[in-house]
């Protein structure tokens, strides 16, 4: 019904009439008109083109004209439904593996990084990859935990974040607890009934569901660690065919502590491998409000703004619990909310290096050797499949350390310097629409495309840049802008992209 109301524009009138006729009366979401705009979870009515572009900029790495057109054609809510339906990406994955990985059974850890980067740059559903990054950061596990020929375990690990995060949180937590890379990363495969390892049990609550010191004790951790015992890594000859050995994870009931445990004051009976699910159920059952609040806060701080109010969180969290932990409904509620389009939210979050790099490549179509992209991500400190610690990556101004500022500029420089790796690609002709090729029009169009806000003096200087150049002594000379001159077009469009990509407003998403 909501969808119909939205498309007919009736909802806006209905919401407005509620606010006007009965101010202070509870609205559809249990909110009232006294809720501050940045906490208002009631659905938006109509969205301007600018607001739609903002949604893409925040959740799709960048604004691509083709994606905005797709959103406009479907309408906002239908577009959300489409993007959250996670259409199959099998063809993309096949192409990515073929381009990035020499031996698909035995990828190297660098190949895994480049494969994931390829998916992010080339996906036709960029939200899927943005969301995967959120969960990858939240459940931060690194291929550093893998040895020898086991890096293929990363395929199912990354697909957990790419494909399994629109169902219930309960099911996601269970799948995460049995994921092979996670079992290796947090010592699950070394944890046995005679020597339970606390690492996973601790992080399961501290980092994944509850937050530090929030509703569990050291004794709970020790008991819980005994439930998470029994998986082991075993060598399998000829696993991928004759002579192609590998290691796999298998359940071994002899290593599982099947005696009863006391967690949160409840008894967890010996239940074999099913105890992993029992612990998930117990955590969501006994600590549901804490879990929902913790997850909603993390998600809100990734897609919206930092430090949301406790009212907002409790509103979101109770919705999550009421929906039986339906993550898709939670995402949709966030993106449909008025708060998402509030001025506080539009103030901006600092792009992480992946947001910045992937966004720029998707924005401009400029690519280079994938190894170079990886080097830059390493220098910037954000390599997909290799978070630095179990706490994931830093956020916000942390990314704009002195070094981070320099590395961002050097990445854009690399995409100019290695243009021999972009055979046949004319960036100016590819991204500037016909009819907008004059000096001021080019500056204004690129500012829209990149969502950069220039001060008047900066805009004048950028137009001036298009009409001049430097000689070998850095002395400026006049060289009037001529878009039709391929050499000048290539030089100056790339230069303008470099300049705009270092503008303060391009650092926010």
């Amino acid at each position: 019904m909501l969808k119909r109301l939205l498309s007919s524009g009736l909802l806006a009138m209905w919401v407005a009439s509620v606010a006007v006729v009965t101010p202070g009366c509870a609205g559809e979401e249990g909110s009232d008109s006294s809720v501050p705009p940045d906490e208002d979870l009631r659905p938006v009515s109509t969205l301007s083109q600018d607001e739609r572009a903002f949604f893409l900029r925040r959740t799709h790495f960048c604004v691509r004209p083709s994606e905005l057109a797709q959103l406009n054609a479907l309408g906002y809510e239908d577009y959300l439904d489409w993007m959250l339906s996670m259409p199959s990406t099998a063809a993309l994955e096949t192409a990515g593996k073929s381009a990035m990985i020499a031996d698909v059974n035995f990828p190297g850890s660098h190949e895994i990084v480049q494969y994931w980067t390829y998916l992010m740059v080339n996906s036709s559903n960029p939200f899927q990859e943005m969301l995967a990054l959120f969960w990858h950061d939240h459940f931060a596990a690194s291929t550093d935990a893998l040895v020898g020929d086991n890096n293929w375990w990363a395929y199912s690990h990354m697909d957990l974040w790419r494909k399994e995060t629109t169902g219930s949180l309960n099911s996601l937590l269970y799948k995460m607890s049995t994921d092979w890379l996670m079992l290796a990363w947090l010592n699950g495969i070394e944890s046995t009934k005679t020597a339970p390892n606390e690492n996973f049990a601790r992080e399961f609550w501290e980092l994944f569901t509850l937050g530090a010191d929030n509703g569990y004790t050291q004794a709970d951790i020790q008991e819980c660690a005994r439930s998470f015992t029994g998986d082991r890594s075993v060598f399998q000859a000829d696993y991928f065919g004759a002579g192609l050995d590998s290691r796999v994870i298998q359940w071994d009931s002899n290593r599982h502590d099947n005696t009863s445990k006391a967690v949160f004051g409840q008894t967890v009976n010996g239940n074999g491998q099913a105890e992993y699910q029992d612990i998930v159920n117990l955590t969501l059952g006994q600590r549901g409000t804490q879990v929902a609040t913790f997850i909603c806060r993390k998600l809100w701080e990734y897609f919206c703004y930092l430090n949301p109010s406790s009212d907002l969180l409790s509103n979101l969290a109770s919705g999550l619990i009421a929906s039986s932990w339906d993550l898709k409904a939670l995402y949709k509620r966030i993106f449909m909310s008025k708060a998402f389009f509030s001025s506080r939210n539009r103030d901006g979050l600092i792009k992480s290096p992946l947001h910045y790099h992937i966004g720029y490549m998707r924005n401009t179509g400029l690519l280079m050797g994938w190894q170079r992209v990886r080097y830059s991500l390493e220098a910037c400190g954000q390599v997909p499949s290799r978070p630095p610690t179990v706490n994931g990556w830093p956020v916000e101004m942390s990314w704009l350390s002195s070094q981070g500022v320099i590395e961002r500029a050097n990445f854009i420089r690399d995409l100019n310097n290695y243009q021999s790796e972009q055979p046949g690609y004319d960036v100016g002709n590819s991204i500037i629409p016909a009819g907008q090729t004059g000096d001021a029009a080019v500056v204004d169009y690129l500012c829209w495309l990149m969502q950069v806000t220039l001060e008047p003096a900066q805009r004048t200087r950028c137009i001036d840049y298009l009409n001049n150049d430097y000689n070998g002594s850095s002395v400026k000379f006049a060289q009037p802008w001529d878009f039709s001159d391929a050499t000048q077009r290539n030089k100056k469009i790339r230069g303008l992209l470099y300049i705009l990509s270092q503008h303060p407003s391009y650092q926010v998403r």
Binding site: E301, V390, L400, S402, R413
Partner: protein, 431 residues
């Protein structure tokens, strides 16, 4: 929900950064006013803080070698424990040995320049890496609501308020620096700390750089964009200074005879320390006015499994890196102005786990090295009773170590840097 989680770590960092940005909107004072010199600033005292991230196993770094302490240690660590004599002797201190890979530290001990401080920690153990790190980074057990979150930032704001007064190398933007008013220099390495030229059109590239810098100067100092522009301008200013220091140091290093360990084949975290300490040396040689350098080994110490080989590589890298740095400071004639404090967010369990590793603990050794120091064992020595506990307790608050270094070496009043009161306290005398 307790206080520590009311404000999430992410918000905490964000809030601190905003504060730094707002305060930096005015002129950006830089450390070097007279142009760079090819020598350390004369009589300029500095502290090098060296963080071993992940929870170093102190019990195997300095281990008991005599009496019931030694036998208890070995019985609790049948696989991981070192027998007396398996490690390195500490002359004049027969009760303890150093980890066998710490030869470089043994050399410094023999020179009388290594202080080993036992059982360092903070009130009420917290076995989480991140809570523990936050305590060390803020210098406060209750760290919510601090106006200036980082202790290094508080020191810098009070006593070294320039863009180079406090510097981090190879450790990212740590909470220790949040709230600094002068956009402190936080760099990964000096070699990568410069704008690369687009060689397809270097003339035009120079024009682009000038335009982007002029644009930053035109950015109003207000709002989010102003905060970001301040950070960007500070970075670009710093890059020029750092490259000058790098050039001067390269000339010096070519003839100093100091040899840093070869990093090929080293574990990544140790290689990072070698490179970071070399970079610190370059900044010192470049005449930077820095009072606190913050660096370290950014990982690898969370040895939950297969600890023996992993920890050995870390210890070996740590000792060889510090020894080379010491030699470099001696060659520059500035070892007597330099104190290094080595710490980790917590120690590990006294007993080994079933994966040939150790789980999180609390009390731990800290080390203080430098020309001005008096070597020896400080704090309460670890006893068999301590080792029979689950993990080491603490009898020296970590802030007593920092306070002593700030007062006795840097010559500043530490009280406003560490204002939280605490009851377990022990006066330090290693300086």
């Amino acid at each position: 929900m307790n206080d520590a989680t009311q404000l999430s770590r992410r918000s905490f960092l964000r809030a601190g950064a905003a504060l730094a940005g707002v305060a930096a909107l005015g002129a950006l004072p830089r450390g070097r006013s007279e142009g760079l010199k090819a020598a350390p600033l004369p009589n300029h005292k500095r502290l090098v803080v060296l963080n071993l991230l992940g929870g170093n196993d102190g019990m195997n770094t300095v281990y008991p070698a005599t009496g019931t302490a030694a036998s208890t240690y070995l019985s609790r660590r049948p696989t991981l424990g070192f027998a007396a004599g398996a490690g390195l002797a500490l002359s004049g201190l027969p009760d303890f040995n150093l980890h066998p890979a710490l030869g470089g530290l043994q050399t410094i001990w023999n020179a009388g320049d290594l202080a080993i401080i036992s059982k360092v920690g903070y009130p009420t153990a917290n076995l989480s890496h991140f809570v523990s790190e936050d305590i060390w980074s803020t210098g406060a057990r209750n760290f919510t609501g601090l106006a200036v979150p980082g202790w290094v930032a508080r020191y810098g704001n009070l006593y070294a308020p320039t863009g180079t007064g406090v510097v981090s190398v190879g450790m990212g933007r740590r909470l220790d620096f949040e709230g600094a008013t002068a956009n402190p220099l936080l760099l990964d390495s000096i070699s990568s700390f410069q704008l690369e030229v687009d060689y397809t059109n270097s003339n035009n590239h120079n024009y682009r750089v000038d335009v982007l810098k002029a644009n930053l100067n035109d950015q109003p100092a207000t709002g989010r964009a102003g905060e970001i522009a301040a950070a960007q301008k500070a970075a670009l200013d710093a890059a020029a200074q750092v490259q000058a220091a790098k050039t001067a140091y390269a000339t010096f290093a070519a003839t100093s005879g100091v040899v840093y360990p070869n990093t090929s084949g080293m574990t990544w975290s140790a290689a990072k320390l070698v490179n970071s300490l070399k970079d610190v040396a370059a900044l010192i040689y470049g005449g930077f006015d820095t009072r606190i350098y913050y660096t370290g080994m950014p990982g690898g110490f969370d040895t939950h499994s297969a600890q023996l080989t992993g920890h050995d590589a870390l210890m070996s890298g740590l000792a060889s890196a510090i020894l080379a740095f010491r030699d470099d400071m001696v060659a520059m004639g500035t070892w007597n102005d330099t104190v290094i404090v080595v710490f980790s967010e917590f120690g590990r369990r006294n007993y080994e786990n079933g994966s040939d590793g150790t789980d999180h603990g609390h009390g731990n050794y800290a080390l203080a090295l430098g020309g001005p120091g008096t070597g020896g064992l400080y704090g309460d020595p670890v006893t068999a009773t301590d080792i029979n506990l689950e993990y080491l307790g603490y009898t020296t608050d970590f802030r007593d170590v920092y306070k002593h270094a700030i007062q006795a070496h840097l010559g500043n009043d530490p009280a406003p840097v560490f204002s939280e009161s605490y009851s377990v306290t022990k006066a330090m005398t290693f300086l």
